[in-house]
Symmetry: C2
Subunit: 198 residues, 2 copies
Amino acid sequence: MYLPEPIVNLIDGFQRLPGIGAKTAQRLAFTILKMDDEDVADFAQALIQVKRDLKICTVCQNISDQDICDICQDKSRDTSIICVIQETKDLIAMERTREFNGLYHVLGGAISPIEGIGPEQLKIPSLLERLSDEKVKELILATNPNMEGEATAMYLSRLVKPFGIKVTRIAHGLPVGGDLEYADEVTLTKALEGRREV
Amino acid sequence: MYLPEPIVNLIDGFQRLPGIGAKTAQRLAFTILKMDDEDVADFAQALIQVKRDLKICTVCQNISDQDICDICQDKSRDTSIICVIQETKDLIAMERTREFNGLYHVLGGAISPIEGIGPEQLKIPSLLERLSDEKVKELILATNPNMEGEATAMYLSRLVKPFGIKVTRIAHGLPVGGDLEYADEVTLTKALEGRREV
């Protein structure tokens, strides 16, 4: 295929991103070509800055532009509850609810023998350190509701029990706005098991 | 939503691209965060270079890293046929067939009264110049098979007729691998009209 090198390089760059195939990469590259010089420069700058300026919070392993992230530094947050999640994007999802005012701990994944990820690849030592140091009263296990997430939650709950800390797991059940008719059996079973008096 | 500024800027950057919403932009930004420093630097560089190094070919209005594009400079190509297309991406599609060995002319769009694009916004003067200067024997009108493309083809064919040049339009019909059953009436009518002896 005939194309000048600069645009081939840009198409290549886009194609390395997940979910972007050859056609989309080409469309995006041509969009860049038509955009303002300044907007493109800003975008290129944002790419470089994200790699240069972001660090991992030394306390909760969240991404941050400082050594300790804004959440860990926030005096108004309840330091007695730690919510354990797999990735930073899960933290964003939790923050979006505006219902949780405790701290977080980002594991960096979940136990998955198939992918060769064991507990030693996760940020578990720093979590245990926090549990012994701080006045933590509750640990919420908010790993994903799939096999890997459940295994990780199970593993952590056994590991943390000796600390005498309350360990909870987020509820499974029907998603709000969902249809009973279309719910799978496992979810419906979990929803039944988790029923509460009203 | 809580997030450090560098990543917010990057998410914003991705979101300005077509077909990329908030969720996808966030996913892409987090992918960048996990990529090698070098790969990200290359991508940022590609963005900047595409804006800095690419020009419009002074002959055919195709994008190029030189004043005259590789196709127009290629001595092995047939200079007696010019294929008129709307955009550079249509040129790429044509080149992909490996069936066309003539030259191109990129109009930069199609006549569209709704979008306020008239013939004067298209690269028609430079096309007419080429037709009078060069030994062009055939002009293939390969604008899109929709209303705007047809209107542009019609306009051009009337404009070029006085030059005494053969003007052709790419065929309409059933796409290869398509189903007669699912073809729309207009396409089927065109396919019937364009039938050829076998």
